[in-house]
């Protein structure tokens, strides 16, 4: 017999926690000069990702992230904006995953990634403070330096699929992904780096982060893991202006210096589609209206972040599971 789970936070405490946290997040982002927006939850096309499956809501989908809708507002001159949105990702069920959760997403127009990273630290601070918990201290690492520290292998970040598979095998990480057999080298590279990152995260990065504790930003991602971030020269290497933030080993936020080049953006969507195809995942439409806005209006220079609010509240409440702090009463998840 397994022991019955502790019931998590009492309901009045949950309501108080959400009330204080939502207020603190809004106050902080407004004080930073951003306007609050609310974009539709049902969308015609989601920001496609290799391993994020949308829930269907015919004739469209439930948003997996408000990113493209907010970028279309940015293209139309919204200025710096933020949103606290409900997002949906099919079949993500675990202690730290739910099919429906809250993303805090914000964009700083005409600003740099460092400012967005500072926002993450400030939001973590205000939410922890709202829950009566002490602030965390932060450190920043180039992700490939952490790869070197945990694996003893120096990677440049521009290795092609075949080279990366060999390096991974030399440190007992087996990369098996149907995308590795794709004809398109961009798809192979995306498959190899995504598989490498997934396996390395689970085996090496997670324990490393848990041992360190506190707040950690990983930055300067390999170009194949740029997602929607700009790739630029960093000390002679081509690296993505992207960061991921963790607190006590829990992944919390993901930030980009946003990619603005429509041709590059279309090529990245195509690589994701190719990898999804190799995995025999359902084909998803590309958001052509978003690409049209990038071409037509153009996206202003901006830095953006998505932060998982439920996970931040879980940390603030010193809880182990999202269900310990969730306000969901009998949600329809399986």
């Amino acid at each position: 017999m397994t022991a019955k789970r502790p019931p998590g936070l009492p309901w009045p405490a949950r309501v108080a926690l959400w009330d204080r946290a939502l207020g603190a997040v809004r106050d902080r982002l407004r004080a930073a000069g951003m306007r609050e927006v609310s974009t539709p939850v049902r969308v015609a096309a989601v920001a496609i990702e290799p391993f994020i499956e949308p829930l269907t809501a015919p004739p469209g989908y439930l948003a997996t992230s408000p990113e493209l809708a907010m970028k279309r507002l940015l293209c139309r001159g919204s200025g710096s904006i933020f949103q606290i949105s409900h997002v949906f990702r099919a079949a993500e069920l675990g202690d730290r995953h739910a099919e429906e959760f809250h993303l805090v997403e914000w964009y700083r127009v005409d600003d740099e990634l460092a400012a967005a990273r500072a926002d993450v630290e400030a939001l973590v601070d205000v939410v922890l403070a709202a829950a009566g918990r002490p602030a965390v201290s932060w450190s920043t690492f180039a992700i490939l330096d952490v790869v070197a520290a945990t694996l003893g292998r120096e990677l440049r970040g521009d290795e092609d699929a075949e080279a990366l598979v060999r390096v991974a095998a030399s440190v007992d990480l087996e990369l098996r992904d149907p995308g590795l057999a794709a004809r398109d080298p961009d798809v192979r590279r995306l498959a190899a780096w995504t598989a490498f990152f997934s396996e390395w995260s689970d085996r090496d990065l997670d324990p490393w982060l848990r041992d360190r504790g506190g707040g950690v930003h990983l930055c300067d991602f390999p170009p194949a893991l740029a997602a929607l971030a700009e790739v630029r020269d960093v000390g002679g290497a081509r690296l993505a202006a992207r960061f991921e933030s963790y607190v006590d080993g829990v992944e919390l936020a993901n930030g980009y210096q946003e990619l603005r080049d429509p041709a590059e953006q279309a090529a990245r969507f195509a690589a994701v589609s190719g990898l999804r195809d190799a995995h025999q995942l359902p084909a998803l439409p590309i958001d052509e209206r978003f690409l049209g806005d990038l071409r037509g209006f153009g996206l202003p220079r901006c830095a953006g972040v998505a932060l998982g609010l439920d996970r931040l509240l879980m940390i603030a409440a010193a809880a182990e599971r999202l269900s310990d702090i969730s306000l969901a009463l009998g949600s329809p998840g399986r």
Binding site: L93, G94, F197, S198, R334
Partner: protein
């Protein structure tokens, strides 16, 4: 079935063996691939192993069902059970029944597990009530708590009981641990 259908208690077939998922955790690093980390138990041998599946992988669901059946009799090589609805009888080998034979009273209702229509296991009620057929005498005057003596129940199973238990009384036994729970007064 798809790995996204994995849950606790899901039943899988791996290398021709039925497994049940006893622990399940979904993790997903960054924008990476989801990992389904499971502890799975072989439903025939009971051995437990760790397996991790990646999103997109396919699994075979095990054709497993459980039916309530009554214990009829032991034959020496096996144990015969009957479906009281259909009167269908099946025999379970001694190695499948294992220590559970200690609690097999006539007409006891158990869950018999079928894998591809073949009986492969049984699951006992968590407690059974059995009559004490033989017991060592209690030593008069010894009132220390926790002191036990040996007794035997109707299946011949030997069990440690408190000193006050007498022949002919009924005791409740936990089938998971094999231990005495309490005296049952009727």
């Amino acid at each position: 079935m798809d790995v996204s259908d994995l849950r606790k208690n899901a039943k899988l077939e791996i290398d021709g063996q039925p497994y049940v998922v006893v622990e399940f955790q979904f993790v997903k690093p960054g924008k990476g691939q989801g990992l389904y980390k499971c502890k799975i138990k072989n439903m025939i041998t009971g051995s437990v192993l760790d397996r991790t599946w990646r999103s997109g992988e396919k699994l075979e669901a095990a054709n497993v069902e459980s039916r309530k059946m009554q214990f009829l009799y032991a034959t020496g090589e096996g144990f015969t059970f009957m479906d009281s609805g259909t009167y269908e009888q099946v025999e379970l080998r001694e190695d499948i029944v294992g220590d559970d034979k200690n609690y097999l009273l006539d007409n006891l209702e158990c869950d018999i597990l079928f894998y591809n229509d073949r009986p492969v296991g049984l699951s006992m009620p968590s407690h059974v009530v059995m009559e004490v057929t033989e017991a060592e005498p209690g030593v008069k005057g010894d009132t220390a708590t926790g002191v036990t003596k040996n007794a035997w129940v109707s299946t011949g199973y030997q069990i440690a009981v408190p000193l006050f238990i007498k022949v002919g009384e009924k005791v409740k036994i936990d089938t998971r641990t094999g231990a005495y729970v309490e005296r049952v007064n009727e």
